[in-house]
Symmetry: C2
Subunit: 293 residues, 2 copies
């Protein structure tokens, strides 16, 4: 048996026994020379044989690696892992606290290592946006006509914005970046109107207006979350602290309606604003679709 064969069989055994799993690195050529006391040419030949048999894959600059879908290694630095962790940090601490240094610390890596996987902080945020939008799950077929369909889309969007308070403001700051999942969403809404009389341009306006509305309401989410983080106060408690300033302004300007409202007590909630606005919006769109149909 050729010496390199012995190496191949040994590696195969270690793969089959589960000692080496997909994605793990097989000993490098130089390591094999030491381990088996062979020349590097032999080691290279073993690598080549392993590759020919489909057991391994050579990744230049990385090493020879066991083939197969690599089960994510725990602490491997990865664009995927970076983006996911960034979203987690932003969800917990707010987008302002998401600094490259903090993110690196969270990942247990050095700051500059991140830049191997992400061109800049801005690009990272775009990636975060896309991933967050990817959470939106829409059925393949549109249920029960256009109205329930786009209502479903709006509610899904709203849910994502609630889970990620930083999302809406990020989307308004960045130029409409090419987020594949954003396009997917748009496409779905455009398709809702198949069978109605709306042409594509009209559908596009509907889609933009609807999304703009949802995002607009969601813009109130981040400050709310941040204030709770910072002061530990709920929205209501904070309102109370501002009440004196508020009444002062109201008094000097004779704002009767406002005054009455605060006296009666007004439980303002973004959720209710969303519900109210969505209902009006859909009503308005209904009239438009009817007129075009």
């Amino acid at each position: 048996m050729h010496p390199y064969r012995r190496i191949v069989e040994d590696v195969r055994r270690r793969i089959e026994s589960g000692e080496l799993r997909p994605g793990d690195r097989v000993p490098s050529a130089r390591a094999l020379t030491k381990e088996w006391g062979v020349a590097i040419a032999t080691a290279t030949r073993a690598h080549a044989a392993l590759r020919d048999e489909g057991l391994t894959v050579a990744r230049p600059g990385v090493g020879t690696v066991v083939a197969g879908p690599a089960p994510r290694r725990e602490h491997e630095l990865t664009r995927e892992r970076i983006v996911a962790t960034a979203i987690d940090v932003a969800d917990r601490l707010g987008l302002a606290e998401l600094t490259m240094r903090r993110l690196a610390a969270e990942l247990g890596a050095a700051t500059m290592s991140l830049y191997r996987y992400v061109p800049s902080r801005d690009d990272l945020i775009v990636a975060m946006i896309d991933k967050a939008l990817g959470e939106i799950r829409l059925p393949r077929r549109h249920p029960g006509g256009w109205r329930p369909a786009i209502e479903l889309a709006a509610r899904q969007e709203w849910a994502v914005f609630q889970r990620h308070p930083w999302l809406s403001s990020s989307m308004s700051i960045t130029r409409p970046q090419i987020a594949p999942n954003g396009l997917r969403l748009s496409e779905w809404v455009l398709a809702c109107f198949d069978g109605t009389g709306l042409d594509l341009e009209e559908r596009m306006y509907v889609q933009i207006v609807l999304f703009t509305f949802v995002r607009g309401v969601a813009n109130g989410l981040e400050p709310e979350a941040e204030a709770v983080r910072e002061t530990g106060l709920t929205n209501e408690q904070w309102m109370d602290t501002q009440a004196t300033t508020l009444t002062e302004v109201m008094d000097t300007n004779r704002m009767s309606h406002f005054q009455q409202l605060t006296e009666e007590g007004f439980d303002f909630g973004l959720d209710l604003v969303f519900e109210f606005g969505l209902a009006r919006m859909l009503d308005g769109l209904s009239l438009f679709v009817q007129a075009r149909g």
Copy 2:
């Protein structure tokens, strides 16, 4: 004649001749001792007499100043002037370029001088918001029923957002700060519905939803302006540069509607989005008001 009297009469003459105007500083006590060769007690007595006669006002730490409404001095550092200049810079360069150092340079002052008049950059921005909202001019009476009235309000808001592209995103980032001019605006919209069946809480929802919509559309303004500043490209030209990425994504995901749309050419404009959305919104609100009336 007592010596201090001579001083008083001299200052009076200089005020009446217009040599000293309201807001100007009368020579300090120490200056008078040198100028007239008198003791400081005499100079102080002169100051007291001037104050008693209502000609001047003593401002501790500043000096004795000619009474009357001070016509704004040209290069005097003032909260008013700081806020106005800040708005100007933000309009021209964008909010991100509005740094305390740049603002100070623009004002011909040292950076830290600004902090005498403004507690922090965030507070400055709140002041800017209020001042910008103050540009909105609404008639005392509401013209022709609630619908034209709130349409007018929405258009005024839209105009302000267009003049100040930074405004909408700033308002979404800061907590609903107590901006007197914002309250004034809200009050006006609330009053639009006098005579309809809407109670105050319902009006409040209408007001918030309408404003949220306008602000939401306006959120697209700043990135647009910034991109033009940065790259010198118009919105359309920029779209072209992204076209390749776009079509790539579209092709791999089979987005037929989107594809067709870009082939036909779609002239997307925030103005048109605003018009379309506003019309739908008002239609939707009409149904609501009718149902309540």
